[in-house]
Symmetry: C2
Subunit: 414 residues, 2 copies
């Protein structure tokens, strides 16, 4: 039997024990982990250094090194994260509704953990801690498969997390790390339907696509955000400018940053010159449609591919549209169903946009940057779902659970 | 461009129109359809006859012929089904919660249709009508792919359904049938991620497995039910007998019928002889473990494979277990997470079973046969989900929807 299959079987068994674990015990484990992380700072940094050294020797880019690197501050942030998850309410066990049927059966809908969750991620070691904590609190067992470049950091972190489990008398198999970093192991993992209930890939678009297209285990797709802002012709232009600049530049590398600006024809020549000059000054590259080029000739030409692209960078594509209908059509065609904003003073158009745009989060007069578990009041987040099944938008603890029907009878037959 | 891609694009566009369709209009279409079905009885039966003739010529089994066959009564049942779906509340548009965040953003969770639903099914023409009606009422566009053996019936039924759409001014592309019955078309359909949001295969285990293992579109798996009844030692044996007989024999071919009986060691020799003799009289084949054989020597030997098998027939596997722990272990190992029952008088064991058995529906003192959309009060049913993502157990209109976040701001930036 392969090593992975053994891991799967152990996780499945541990998941049954987790499903009935009391909240107190889970919280106690999270608090032990938080403490242990800080105590083991030196051990973690030593192991993280090995990864950093190896990445440097392999000539990896500065961006990857930054994602990989841990320091005192980041360790403290992970530790604080554990405490804040301990402080959140536990969704497991809630009977959401219970009805009495005409035949006397009481039928209740009870919130339960998903079971075993597989997390496939890349260079960020903090995912090891965050994802484990969220799965633990929501009563799930977790199988972690982090990137090979972070293997020493991940081993160290999982060792510390497991100590926290032990101190709270929770089986250590609740958190398992696949330490074999060969690529084939991911391929094997995503076929393990008997042992893994849900896979959540966290990372770049290519990782997510690979998992979604090859997995036999149900997948929750997260994170790809080709987000739009539509500036209507009935509009407070000052507010529109603030929102567009914030959505594009406050943190361009994240999925809720805006990528395309759509502007109503009537206000384009009034709105764009000042805004686009501002962008130029900030070092944002502008790729415009032909109408934008007429208004602001120094920008680049947008090609068809631009409308599909999540730049995650200081680049924005800009298009002049006839009206809100054309804006909605564009968004529903090119968008990734993540976050979309209209800026308008019109009641009718605000309502129309909310109704007709097909996305996880649809905004009126606010930056797309708010799509986030913390900003939405979920307290934490394992990712932002861009699919429609199960959960949409930011996923917190509740989204890591499902339900089962429980039925109290007294001899009913059919 | 392939014919299927055109169908997909049309469905996607139609789905946007459906998403904002008022309930009145949807109900009006359902009522027109109900009326038209009855009016077109002759047309439907003529076309159904062609399918029956062809199936006979191909030498298909009586069971398939029975599934395929329509008659006055079945047409009336389909028509009545449409009216009862029209009478159900529309889940679309409900804002389930709306919170005000500290920064003044109002964030609401609004129920919306899934979009485009693909239904892949086999010989039953009534699925064409039922599935279309459920998708329509829940605001979705539907792409139907029925079995080749029912193609004439399906064409006729879809023609009539489309007339109902037209009479209510709903785009006819909301319901589309793939009339090309070549097998490759299914393979093409299940890769259409851009056009189909969810696939629901309805039919035998092999169809569902094929779709689940090859689809790039998210799938809701339905129907496979290897259901158990555990008879505890603290028990009203008369009630236990009634429940076991009902769960096994009232309709053995359906997914919520029981397949395996687990009996606590302490009551096995008291309980089994009478029950198993009863089963023998009813023509139920018994496959027992070694301990059952000692108590009731005329039964067959159960082999390991039996514990995994959904017989869908007058066959039952029977096992003596030490206690409730062993029963739960058996169920969680061999079950398909469908419906499981304990018969007991013990409060503690009832609660333990409800807590620890991992299935869509877990019962105390009632037949597994109640797992059904109508029995659970959903009013209708598109299938019974045996997976954990999105929906579990009977799926009604609400389970054919998802949600989106709608956010009302007044200039918020982050």
């Amino acid at each position: 039997m392969s090593n992975l299959k053994t891991i799967g079987q152990k996780s499945r068994l541990a998941s049954y024990e987790m499903a009935r674990c009391f909240t107190n015990k889970k919280n106690s484990a999270l608090k032990f982990m938080a403490e242990n992380l800080k105590k083991a700072e030196r051990f973690i940094l030593e192991n993280n250094n090995k990864d950093i050294e190896m990445a440097r020797r392999k000539g990896m880019s500065g961006a990857i090194l930054d994602r990989l690197k841990l320091d005192k501050k980041r360790i403290k942030a992970m530790s604080d994260g554990l405490l804040s998850i301990a402080a959140l309410p536990d969704p497991v066990g809630e009977i959401e509704t219970m009805i009495k049927r005409p035949n006397g059966l009481y039928i209740g809908k009870k919130r339960v953990p998903l079971g075993v969750i597989g997390i496939i991620y890349e260079a960020r070691p903090n995912v090891t801690v965050d994802a484990s904590a969220l799965c633990l609190k929501s009563g799930n067992a977790v199988i972690l498969r982090g990137g090979s470049e972070a293997i020493n950091s991940n081993r160290a972190l999982v060792k510390i997390l497991k100590e926290g489990l032990k101190e709270s008398d929770i089986p250590s198999e609740v958190i398992q790390l696949i330490t074999d970093t060969k690529r084939e192991k991911v391929k094997e993992m995503i076929k393990m339907r008997e042992y893994i209930d849900v896979l959540i890939p966290r990372g770049g678009a290519s990782l997510i696509k690979m998992v979604a297209e090859n997995s036999l285990v149900p997948v929750i797709e997260t994170g790809v955000g080709n987000c739009h802002i539509y500036v209507d012709d009935e509009v407070d232009l000052e507010m529109a400018e603030k929102i567009v600049i914030n959505a594009k530049t406050s943190r361009p590398a994240v999925c809720n940053a805006a990528e395309t600006l759509l502007v109503a024809e009537k206000v384009a020549s009034l709105f764009l010159p000042k805004l686009l000059s501002e962008f130029e000054k900030m070092g944002v590259e502008i790729r415009g449609c032909s109408k934008v080029k007429k208004i602001f000739p120094v920008c680049k030409d947008a090609i068809e591919e631009d409308w599909y692209t999540e730049y995650l960078d200081y680049i924005i594509s800009v298009k002049v549209v006839k009206d809100i209908d054309m804006a909605i059509e564009h968004i529903n065609k090119y968008g990734t169903k993540h976050s979309e904003t209209i800026v308008t003073s019109s009641y009718q158009k605000a309502q129309k946009f909310l109704e007709e745009v097909d996305a996880a989060a649809v905004y009126v007069n606010a930056s797309t940057r708010f799509t986030d578990g913390f900003e939405f009041g979920l307290g934490a987040e394992i990712g932002i779902s861009t699919q429609k099944l199960h959960a949409r938008g930011p996923m917190g603890l509740k989204e890591l659970t499902t339900y089962k029907y429980i039925i109290y009878g007294n001899g009913q037959i059919r």
